[in-house]
Subunit: 378 residues, 2 copies
């Protein structure tokens, strides 16, 4: 039996070695593709080509009796690696005559990420930090675009200092709220204005498929090049109104952060043995704990700023608190049927999204489960 | 340029075709391994072999200049597929002389999953459903093991009906609380008793690496075969005290379900456009929405039962409600520094787990991001 198993395992090892070689060749070819794209200013993320490639390989998998999902997952993972390697060759500069790009807060994490991509595309990038205002006129000399990347709490004050920009300069910001900064930018600057909200943290490996929301300020024709440039970097753009944006963010960003914060407070007060909790957790509970815990590895100031960004946020949190109290009353009365009725009403509201979310998160949890091994489980 | 790109893309397609072939061969060999293991009653999940295989391939990847994480992710995904295919050949029966296994609630989702695995291992499986109690003595004739797999709210009543089991029969349950059912089983049955809590839903593709918590009831020697059998199916066992188990579950299960329930209520009342929310969501917010929405695709009765399982649960929820109120007070007073102080205190409590969770969830979100395409994003 041992001999039989050893022989089979040697075969697996040989196959896996071939796999390493194949992945190596794939990365070499995609690096070449990246060079060609960069030379011609083509976006590194090509959704149509990606979809066609996957459809072809899925069909081939079916013909050969290999699970198509296995093939798709493997190829998607390989493609992610390609996107990372494709960026290092640089990108085409879509606005060759643009003056320097000045990033206010350009030494911050997000500011420097954008600085890197502007540099990789051949733009001259200058940084204006807190202590640089004395020589601001020097830094802003001949500026083609100003990008504001500072904490929410100082955004307004920073924008007010930008009264003297050249008329044709593009003024844009990366703040995670949009209505107030956009208003401030439009008030202080008469030229083109654009509000951006990158929906990713500074820790992303590359910008392929990352979402950037944008709110029109003024002068669409004058910032069209920037939107195109973001797409060359692989970004997916989504246009949204500033008020609509802020309402949605209060729900999907502020409230999530706030409940994670309260949950973390609660855990710390209850003070369970975290290692034992994890040992007892299925992938879904482990993930939920991780989604709470990850907050506390980050900058408290950033989250204080996001959560306290507006009075509307507080009102939203209050409404949530009331509803949590109502949900708790159902438990207090031990009213199972009332709980089930509310549950069904919410399920109806989610509609076809509920089963879709179940499927989608199930697939993701399965992937989390793939990596479960003894080392990580303890 | 088009010709150049087409030529390179043809190379990619050829490499990807080879990959499909390689995955096919890999699955064929692992199927053979599964047969050998099944014949000899070896567990399908072999952590040491898996770790050694990955370490070897990572090293080879490094030598060849291929990112080791890429190779590991691809191999882990392929291994998951192998576990699924390895189960279909059946498993060795570790307790050949055992009488029939009677699963109470064996037509339910979880009950039938366990029934399938007992059958695949050659045990005779009988089902006792709600309407079968009249002919219970017939079904229980010569029984070797009774497995209780019914809703929490009826577990106690069901167990009380099991007074007349043969002394040597093993009595076990799958309830997601453990103290009360275990007590009830010990009271009603004088033979071996074991409490099990499978930490997975009935939708898992296979049992490889799935966690089952177990609480000793009585007669460890008489149920050792069952623990070994679970391991043959690929299960990872974790022993825990019943009270300790219930305390941990109140935190990691009840409270999460409850807050998701309240969050869903809140969303339905706020009534935003869900499609637009998703379009504006980064992978992390999409995942958080999905983790809430997935609840409402499931059985309300199951969650009512879990959340209302004990008075301790209600007390826990109340403490959480109080803490959420305290967190809200920080916002109401606009006291950013107090918020930051609490944040830091909680971060200290999480300790090294906070950065670890950030990393772990970051990797998972990256995988969620791999699958992001236009179809799924809308």
């Amino acid at each position: 039996m041992v001999i039989e198993l050893t022989r089979l395992r040697e075969q697996i090892d040989a196959i896996d070695s071939e796999m390493v070689g194949l992945l190596k060749r794939r990365l070499q070819v995609t690096a070449e593709i990246g060079e060609v794209k960069s030379r011609h200013g083509l976006p590194i993320y090509a959704p149509d080509r990606e979809a066609a490639l996957l459809a072809d390989r899925r069909q081939e998998a079916r013909r050969q009796g290999v699970p198509p999902d296995l093939v798709e997952d493997v190829l998607r993972r390989a493609m992610r690696e390609s996107y990372s390697s494709q960026q290092t060759g640089g990108f085409r500069k879509l606005n060759p005559s643009l003056g320097p790009v000045v990033i206010i807060g350009g030494n911050g994490q997000l500011g420097s990420l954008f600085g890197k991509f502007f540099s990789l595309s051949g733009y001259q990038v200058r940084v204006l930090e807190r202590d640089d205002w004395a020589r601001a006129s020097e830094i802003l000399e001949g500026v083609g675009m100003v990008l504001v990347s500072v904490p929410i709490s100082t955004t307004d004050a920073v924008i007010r200092r930008l009264g003297g920009l050249p008329r044709e300069c593009l003024l844009a910001d990366l703040t995670s709220i949009k209505a107030a900064p956009l208003e401030a930018m439009l008030a202080v600057h008469k030229g083109p204005v654009l509000g951006l909200h990158p929906m990713f943290g500074p820790d992303v490996a590359n910008l392929a498929k990352q979402v950037v929301l944008y709110c029109d300020g003024r002068g669409e024709a004058a910032y069209a090049w920037l939107l195109a440039q973001l797409q060359v970097w692989g970004v997916r753009l989504h246009r949204v109104g500033a008020r609509e944006h802020d309402g949605a963010m209060a729900l999907i960003q502020t409230l999530r952060h706030f409940t994670s914060f309260a949950y973390g407070m609660h855990l710390a007060e209850e003070n369970p043995d975290l290692a034992e909790l994890l040992a007892l957790s299925s992938p879904i509970y482990r993930l939920e704990l991780a989604m709470v815990g990850r907050l506390f590895a980050q900058d408290p100031r950033l989250y204080a700023d996001i959560i306290m960004a507006s009075a509307d946020n507080l009102k939203m949190v209050k409404r949530f608190y009331v509803r949590l109290g109502q949900a708790m009353a159902l438990l207090e009365h031990g009213d199972k049927q009332a709980f089930i009725d509310v549950f069904k009403r919410v399920a109806t509201w989610f509609g076809e999204y509920a089963p879709r979310f179940l499927k989608e998160s199930g697939e993701l949890l399965q992937r989390a489960h793939d990596s479960r091994d003894d080392e990580k489980a303890t």
